[in-house]
Symmetry: C2
Subunit: 408 residues, 2 copies
C-alpha cells in the first residue's frame, strides 16, 4: 500500500472538532450540549443576500473572473474605503473563504522551509495551511496575564532568522479576542520594515469591536504597502460562513500578480457566493450596530460570569466573539472531554475548545480553553451554570496561582 | 521590498488566459471573437438546481460538514453506483471544485520534492497545483500520431525513480479528449501496483463519452482500492462551473483521513453550491442524452471541418469536449496571438489555446492548439471558416510533414 505524505501524516487534526464524537454520545444520552466550541454564529444572515441569489437570472452557472466578479470587487473597495482604507478593485482577489486567501498569501510569499512568526495562542487551522505548504511556524508567546497583548519587539527579534519571511497576526484575535492597538501595529510595522518581511493580517473579525475601540487595518499603516497582505471574509461579517467567500487584499503588485496565477489555476470562487456577498455589501449600518450590540451583551454575560468563578482568569476581549480563559484544572483536553463524557447539570453540559490546540509550544494551553459566545443570552447563562458546577466537582481541579494573584 | 516566493515566481501564468488582452483589443476594434479557448460550456444548467437554491429556507447560511453535506454525499454515492462504482458517503469529500480535490489529493499523498508522472499534453493548471506544493511533474509524451493514446508501459518505467509517488491521468483527457481503454487502465494499474504508487484520476469529463464507448473509472479497477483517488466535479456534468463543487473519492482510509484534516482546516465547501449540486443529482437521464447528442454534433462539425483543412492533423477524440490538433504553422503562441491581433475574416476571428501550455517538455506543442467545442453549430462553422482562411494567409505557415503522411 502506498504511504501517504509526511505532511498528510503530520497535519494536526482539528482540536475543535476532535471532541465531536463525545458530544454526539452525550446528545444520544439525552444531554443538551451548549456549543461554545465553534465560531458558527446564530445571527441571521441579512435577507438581502439570499434575495439577490433567488432573483438572479441564471441560465448557465458560469465561472466568474478568477479574481472575482468585477462589480463585487468594486463594491468591496468602496466598503473598505468607508474605513479609510484606500483601495481599487485591482488590489482584491476574491477567494473560497478566508482560508483560501491565507493559502494564496502563504504560497505566494513563502517557500518550503521558510519561517513564519505567529504570536501564540493562534487560530489552530494555521497549522494545517503551513504544514501543507512546508512552511515552518515559529511562535512567540502572548500571555494571558497581559490579556494576550502583542509580545515585546525584543521577543520577535529573538526568533527572526534568515529563514523568516513573514509575521502573521489575527486581528482581532481568534482565539483571544485581543484587538491590537495602533501602537502595537506600528511596532510590528517597524519590525517587518527592518527585516524586510511580509506582514499577513487575518482580519475576518474586523467588524466586531467593542468598548468604543477602533480597528486599524494593517493596510492603513503608512509606508507598508509592499509588506502588508490582508485576509478577510464575509463569513462572520454577515453571518454567512457557508458562502465561502473571502478576499486577499494587497497593494504589492508583485504579490498580487503571483497570487493571481494560483487563483487562475483554481479557475474561480463560487459564483452564487459572490452574488450573495455582492448584495450583502448593501447591508445597512444599523445591522452591524444591532449585531455588535447583541455580541457585546453576550460578551459581558460570559466575561462577568467567568470573572465570578473562583480560580478562573478571564481577560476582557475587545474584539471578535471569543474569550480565552485560564481554568483551575489539570488538563484542558481531559476537562473538555470529561464535560461531555462524565458531567451533566440539569441534563445539560457545554463544549469548549481546549487551549492546547491553539499553542505550538508543547505544554502551553493546558489550563486554558476558548469559548465562542455565539449563543443567545439564555443559553449562555445555562452554559455558564454548567461550567460553574463542573469546576466544583471536576476531579482534576487544581489551585490556580495566577487567578489568586488577582489578574482579573 | 520583501521578495515573493520562488513558487510564486515560477508558477506558470495560465496559457489559456494570457491571450485575453489581445481578444479584448480585437473586440474593441469591432471584431467578433469565437472563444474556442476555454471550457465554459453554453449548455443550460438544469433548472432543478437553481430551483432548489431559490426554495431553500436559509435563515443563517452556515458552514456545512467539512466533508460536505451528508445527504449530498449519499446521493453522490448512489450516482456513482449507477455506473457500477460501489461507494459509501464516507469515501467522498466534497471540495471547492475539482481543483481543490486535486490539491488535497496531492498534499495528502506527496511531499515537497516528490515526483508525479503525468502523460503530456496535460491540463495546464496541474502545473500551478504542483508548483505550489513543491511537487515535481515528470512527463512521458503521448503522441498525436496515436491520437494521444497512453504511452507504452516501458516509457513509464523509464521515468520512475525512488522519488516517484504517483501517476496522474485526466480521463477522458483535457486537452486531448482521449478516452483511456480498459486495457490501458489495467496496464496503469499494474505499474502502480508494482511500484507502490498512487493513481490519481481526474474524471471531470466522465459524462462526455462518444461513439458508443464506455468510461471506466479507476475506482472500478480490481485490487486497486488502496492506490486510486478519483477527482470529479459538477462543473461540466451539469454545466455548473460557477458552483465550484467537486469531490475527492477514495477507498483508501488512510488517504481519506489525512485529506479530511486539510478539509477541516478550510472548514467547508460552499453551502449554496452543495444545495444546487444535491438537487442536480435528480437530473433526468434524458438531459445527459440530449447534451451528449449536442456535443457529439459539435465534435463532428469541428473534426470534419478540421480534417478537410490541408496540413491539419486532427485525431478524433472519444471524450470530453476538446480536440488537440496539429497545424502547419511555425509557432502556435505566435499564431494564436496573430489570429487576434492581425487577422479577421468577415470581421470575425477565433481564439484557441496554444499547444505549448499543455506540455512540460520544452519545444513540444509548438505546432499544436486546443479547441473547445463549446459553441453552437453556427458559431463553430464560422470559427472554422476563420481558421481555414487564416491558415491560407498566415505568414508563418509551414509544410506539415505529419499531415502529409496521411495520419488523418
Amino acid at each position: 500500500m502506498p504511504k501517504i505524505s509526511n505532511r498528510g501524516e503530520n497535519a494536526p487534526a482539528s482540536p475543535i472538532r476532535k471532541l465531536v464524537p463525545f458530544a454526539e454520545a452525550a446528545k444520544k444520552r439525552g444531554v443538551t450540549v451548549y456549543h461554545l466550541n465553534i465560531g458558527q454564529p446564530d445571527i441571521l444572515t441579512p435577507e438581502i443576500g439570499m434575495k439577490a441569489v433567488r432573483e438572479a437570472d441564471i441560465k448557465v452557472l458560469e465561472y466568474s473572473h478568477s479574481a472575482g466578479i468585477e462589480s463585487y470587487r468594486r463594491k468591496l473597495a468602496d466598503f473598505y474605503g468607508t474605513y479609510g482604507i484606500q483601495l481599487t478593485h485591482n488590489d482584491i482577489i476574491v477567494t473560497n473563504g478566508g482560508s483560501e486567501a491565507l493559502m494564496f498569501a502563504m504560497m505566494t510569499c513563502m517557500d518550503h522551509g521558510d519561517e513564519l512568526i505567529v504570536p501564540e495562542p493562534f487560530y489552530a487551522n494555521y497549522n494545517g495551511f503551513a504544514e501543507s505548504l512546508g512552511i515552518v511556524i515559529k511562535t512567540i508567546t502572548a500571555k494571558i496575564e497581559t490579556g494576550f497583548a502583542l509580545p515585546p519587539v525584543s521577543e520577535f527579534e529573538k526568533v527572526i532568522s534568515d529563514k523568516t519571511k513573514g509575521i502573521l497576526i489575527c486581528h482581532p484575535g481568534n482565539p483571544t479576542g485581543y484587538l491590537y492597538s495602533k501602537e502595537e501595529l506600528l511596532a510590528l510595522g517597524e519590525i517587518v520594515k527592518k527585516h524586510n518581511l511580509f506582514l499577513f493580517s487575518d482580519e475576518v473579525y474586523r467588524d466586531f469591536i467593542y468598548d468604543g475601540c477602533e480597528h486599524t487595518s494593517v493596510l492603513s499603516l503608512p509606508g507598508l504597502d509592499e509588506n502588508t497582505i490582508m485576509i478577510d471574509s464575509v463569513s462572520k461579517r454577515y453571518s454567512a460562513c457557508g458562502a465561502r467567500i473571502g478576499v486577499l487584499v494587497t497593494k504589492n503588485k508583485e504579490v498580487y500578480a503571483a497570487a493571481m496565477k494560483f487563483a487562475q489555476a483554481r479557475l474561480s470562487p463560487s459564483t452564487l457566493g459572490q452574488i450573495l456577498s455582492e448584495a450583502l455589501c448593501e447591508t445597512p449600518k444599523s445591522y452591524f450596530d444591532e449585531v455588535k450590540k447583541e455580541y457585546d451583551k453576550r460578551r459581558m454575560i460570559v466575561v462577568n460570569r467567568l470573572k465570578a468563578m473562583q480560580g478562573v482568569v478571564t481577560p476582557t476581549p475587545n474584539g471578535a466573539f471569543y474569550v480565552m480563559i485560564q481554568l483551575p484544572i489539570d488538563d484542558s483536553d481531559k476537562f473538555c472531554q470529561w464535560l461531555l463524557e462524565s458531567f451533566e447539570h440539569n441534563k445539560q453540559t457545554l463544549m469548549m475548545a481546549p487551549g492546547t490546540g491553539f499553542y505550538a509550544t508543547d505544554g502551553l494551553g493546558k489550563q486554558e480553553a476558548r469559548l465562542a459566545y455565539v449563543l443567545n443570552e439564555k443559553d449562555l447563562h445555562a452554559a455558564m451554570d454548567c461550567l460553574e458546577q463542573a469546576l466544583k466537582v471536576y476531579p482534576g481541579r487544581t489551585v490556580n496561582a495566577t487567578a489568586d494573584s488577582k489578574v482579573n
